[in-house]
């Protein structure tokens, strides 16, 4: 127990730097019995569906409904649903450069998974799909929100970087200006100094002349 407490204190994803598993909400600390099937006959499955974005809302809803129907027909019970919205793809799939993701968690009979997989494969509106059995005690993370948060943090980091750069540039400019000002003042100092001396000389000469006149007295 003590060890666990220490670990939770240590695990601060926002503060740690270098490549780190920030969003993996599945560590020893977060061991919660959140995804345990209700009976022994069923298992929890995670289904990720990718469908093209070039659909109007009605068609989109139709695709999602079809997907959900496949699982409800197979006797599945929905545990969670997460719509990611439009996202860029790393490579074009069937001509689509962007796609919409939907992540479901369903509780269903393991014998019917193959059937649903086949149906999803045949379905027209679905580009890719993946059915995965999450490990024991897996905690559902809403990656749609996590991703947006990540994007925001990235933006702020970039902004900070650009700000720093600007500040550095301005500092450089200021330093340059200072140096130039110094140079000019030095030059000015260097230039009028002999003049003063010459003036002093003339004054001294004048004094000497005056002294001559004093001598005469």
């Amino acid at each position: 127990m003590q060890l666990d407490g220490r670990n939770t204190l240590l695990y601060i994803p926002a503060l740690a730097d270098s490549p780190l598993p920030s969003g993996t909400g599945f560590t020893h600390e977060s061991r919660m019995p959140s995804l345990v099937p209700t009976s022994e006959d069923v298992q929890i499955y995670e289904i990720c569906v990718l469908y093209p974005p070039a659909l109007n809302q009605k068609e989109e809803q139709g695709v999602l409904k079809e997907v959900e129907e496949v699982f409800t027909d197979a006797g599945g019970k929905q545990v969670s649903k997460d719509l990611w919205g439009r996202r860029g793809l790393a490579y074009p799939i069937k001509g689509a450069k962007e796609g919409n993701f939907a992540v479901y968690h369903y509780e269903m009979d393991p014998l019917k998974v193959k059937e649903t997989d086949q149906q999803l494969r045949i379905m027209k509106g679905v580009l890719r799909h993946l059915i995965v059995k999450p490990p024991k005690h897996y905690q559902i993370v809403k990656y749609s929100e996590a991703y947006e948060q990540w994007l925001k943090s990235r933006e702020t980091a970039e902004e900070e970087r650009s700000k720093k750069k600007e500040e550095e540039v301005q500092e450089k400019i200021a330093r340059k200006a200072m140096r130039q000002a110094k140079m000019t003042t030095e030059r000015k100092k260097a230039a009028p100094a002999p003049k003063v001396e010459s003036e002093d000389l003339t004054q001294k000469i004048d004094e000497l002349i005056a002294g001559d006149s004093l001598d005469t007295i």
């Binding site: 670990n7 240590l10 695990y11 994803p13 270098s18 490549p19 780190l20 598993p21 920030s22 969003g23 993996t24 599945f26 560590t27 020893h28 600390e29 990720c48 990718l50 996202r87 793809l89 790393a90 490579y91 799939i93 796609g99 993701f101 992540v103 580009l127 890719r128 993946l130 995965v132 999450p134 490990p135 897996y138 993370v141 990656y143 996590a146 991703y147 990540w150």
Partner: protein, 85 residues
Amino acid sequence: MASAPHHHHQKQQQRRSDPRLKRCPFCEHNTLYIDYKDYPTLKPYTDYFGNTRARYYTGVCLKHQKMLRTAIERARFMGMLAYRK
């Protein structure tokens, strides 16, 4: 004669860091499972060409490298990560 082996030793040290200093970033957080949907954590473990970074460079332990590999492969299939740049 005495300086030659010393020089050799220095060269070796320059080439690679002490393997005992490497620490698995996943082990530090006691990660039990790496999710393929978690793009921000997967991305730094792929290089410019889209290949998985070798354990040698990232310091990930074998257990977590295996998890990472399956996660990256799944993410590639779903179009979240690139197979090849």
